[in-house]
Symmetry: C2
Subunit: 484 residues, 2 copies
């Protein structure tokens, strides 16, 4: 076949693929079935930039989300490893391309002998849980490994200065000899073995011929989109999930109370203590996440205020959690909380939180059983990642009895100050009291981890509850700042 024909043939192939890709992209946007995220890894001279450009050329680039991650720097190094990837996920109906994904740094450190195989394996386990969550949230992951043999790579370096310039700009690996690359390939073999799953397979793509390379990857993306379009992501049943056997709420002593003077005295003591602790130099390297849950009118707001009163507004953020915005609905449910985690030296308070997934969303049927059943593990992972980076996660459930709630609702109806806090919904929720109680018990059972246990506080007496919360925050901080 003459060069001309050869060229014409390739052009035709490219055009044909483009039509199919555009059609699939269009349907993905209309159906809002989920999204596709492509991770592109591998040899530095395999033309990662060109691949992205092909997609920019093929697809409607207003709905392509390309992100390229260099080694973490600045605040990124002091936040959980997956934070920056969480923040940039593609919204439902769109495509994402990650260069230098969560695989890059571990693989680099492994192949440079800076990380042991067991540690590498452990990190890959965390990655697998993360990718499983993305799958369950409707994101199809495709992981591409671009392969070049040494001499192909040498050829690239020799013959194509323009490509070289381009790829140099895209270097992720720095100056690597052929021997180094051999180590990388070894590491990559281990990595792909450990992390190839049905929902997020690794696909090895020969990168020597740019046309073949891009056609192949285009086909892969097309299949992924079609797989997504074929059916609405169906929640996978969670096996062996057990409801709580204990009634944690029932075992609380609701008679606990504090009289006014005692309260005033203790309030002063603990608030002064908290003020000191937060200003402790060592806190600058830690951070604090306070989660407040509890039935309506349990006194969350008042308790939160007694704590925030001690804090410099500059390091404090209070987030009330209500229904997600439409931007948030197009992301995995944890996204809006990942967005709000505290930076080092800061304090974030959630007045209601991501636990809504296993409380209101479960009880009101906003998500299906498998969704809230898997959430317990996902939430534990989330909190684990936070505490691994020095964030203290302290969780409070303020518990009141059904009768007490009724009293407080009635009081609210009278009080002009509190009238606004009472809605129709609050009355509706009351009818579901037993369901909420069960959900709450399950939550405590499954999410009371060593690093972030649940603190159940009988709040029949507001003064008692406020002091308890303050005391627990102070004591947790004291321990944490003592350490190392």
């Amino acid at each position: 076949m003459s060069d001309k024909d050869h060229h014409r043939k390739r052009k035709a192939e490219r055009e044909a693929l483009r039509e199919e890709l555009l059609e699939a992209q269009f349907e993905l946007r209309t159906l809002q079935h989920g999204s596709v995220l492509l991770l592109i890894s591998g040899n530095d001279f395999a033309g990662k930039a060109e691949i992205i450009h092909s997609f920019y050329e093929w697809l409607d680039n207003r709905y392509l989300n390309t992100r390229a991650f260099a080694l973490p720097k600045g605040v990124e190094r002091r936040m959980p490893r997956l934070w920056r990837y969480w923040r940039t996920l593609p919204p439902t109906g769109e495509l994402g391309f990650y260069l230098g994904s969560w695989y890059h740094q571990p693989l680099m450190r492994l192949s440079r002998g800076q990380m042991s195989i067991p540690r590498f394996t452990a990190q890959m386990q965390q990655v697998l849980r993360f990718e499983r969550l993305l799958n369950d949230e409707g994101i199809i992951l495709v992981k591409i490994w671009l392969h070049l043999t040494d001499d192909q790579q040498g050829k690239h370096q020799r013959i194509d200065p323009a490509l070289l310039k381009q790829t140099v700009a895209m270097r992720e690996w720095g100056d690597f000899s052929a021997a180094d690359y051999e180590k990388v390939r070894e590491g990559a073999r281990l990595m792909t073995e450990l992390t190839s799953t049905q929902g997020a397979p690794w696909i090895r793509v020969p990168a020597a011929d740019p046309h073949e390379r891009d056609q192949r990857i285009g086909q892969i993306v097309l299949e992924a989109m079609r797989q997504r379009l074929a059916c609405e992501p169906a929640p996978r049943p969670v096996y062996g999930w057990q409801p709580a056997q204990r009634d944690y709420l029932g075992q609380l002593d609701y008679s606990l109370a504090l009289d006014k003077d005692d309260y005033q005295a203790q309030l002063e003591t603990w608030q002064t203590r908290l003020r000191e602790l937060i200003q402790h130099p060592r806190f600058a390297r830690r951070s604090l996440l306070l989660v407040f849950e509890g039935s309506d009118a349990a006194g969350k707001g008042g308790t939160i205020r007694r704590i925030t009163q001690c804090l410099d507004p500059r390091i404090l953020r209070v987030h009330g959690t209500s229904a997600p915005t439409d931007e948030e609905r197009r992301m995995p449910y944890l996204w809006r909380f990942w967005r709000r985690i505290p930076a080092p030296g800061n304090v974030v308070v959630f007045d209601r939180s991501y636990y809504g997934r296993v409380l209101v969303e479960r009880v009101e049927g906003f998500c299906e059983a498998p969704d809230w059943q898997r959430a317990y593990g996902e939430i534990n992972d989330f909190e684990q990642q936070l505490s691994d980076r020095g964030t203290l996660v302290i969780k409070f459930w303020l518990a009141i009895t059904e009768e007490e709630q009724l009293k407080r609702f009635k009081a609210r109806e009278e009080s002009p100050v509190k009238r606004y806090k009472l809605t129709e919904e609050d009355w509706r929720n009351r009818e579901r009291w037993p369901d909420y109680a069960q959900a709450m018990n399950d939550m405590v059972e499954h999410c009371s981890t060593r690093q972030a246990p649940w603190h159940l506080i009988p709040a029949e007496n507001k003064r008692y509850a406020r002091i308890q919360a303050l005391r627990i925050v102070c004591e947790t901080l004291t321990d944490a700042l003592k350490e190392h």
Copy 2:
């Protein structure tokens, strides 16, 4: 009056105020009439933190947006001065509190003799335009200056170690002697004279007595909210606005064209040039914002791709501008673009942009005449601030004739690849061609500034248009990187 009565009286006052504040806050949220932003400045020992805490105690703190700004650091220092304030504005229906607002740094530098009065005055002019925009977008600004006499300040420092500890944490001014504070007061007098406006007044509040101080500020916020509630923010007529007298579109030569070979040759030349320019070390300190506007089917997408092909995806972001999300609707219209401006060394491309305000929003009547009439000046301010920080703003209008558009629409209907780009709306817009032409001419007339002129490119011939755009980008970059 006995201490006890005195105390009781104050408690009653506080409670009464709280009721009114809560009621107003509730209505503000329900009516979504706009928002109130409070700037708190002044003496370091006046208890800024306590004031915030009072509001946390009084109001539903899920809808309070407190932000405290230290002196800019890291990337903040390389972005426009107002960028970090833009990003954190309170959404419609909510309250915002800024500590260390856009007044802090200029005043500090002025009173330390690090900034001349003329320069200070110029900055205040910019601030006035910014605040006027916020007003017009429905945000009421209240600017509090907390005042203490020297001996009051001394007294505070002496008698209240807890307050001192708290305020030390809140120090904005560092170690200032009484003499220094005198200079600050002088500067503050000038500042408040220059920037007190009807929509954003400065109010001097004596801070010696915490109770009086907080009651006073509470009252001020209450009045502000009521003022906002009293009436939907009515657009202020813009005086002396003139439509364009020239027909810029009519004067273009639509016959300009390039043949295929010429195009291929030039494409290669300019793309290589662009690749080199972007990798120029000096570009790391600059950034590039490309704005593409033009009638439907003018070829924006294709032209953008010819440019992005030369860029490392790591420094590139392409944003398609369509209808704002509900999060964006609760913010001033420029907010979603401030969010997306390029960091140093980066390139951002807007496929349609903030000019939608004076194009589609004007023509389709999504905003009222005063709104789009004031937008020209607001947009010029925006671009001015970008170029002051080293961002090159390059704006393209791709122009085609009505006939050519019809041809392309028909072609799109046939082509499977382009079918998806054609919507009912595109046909509707065609009927408004003259309106869009007028709007476009007005835009060119009012927004072709020295630092960011409009480039009108006849795009009847796509090849010609693409090369023109590439050439202009390269030439602008070349000049910019030569400079200084």
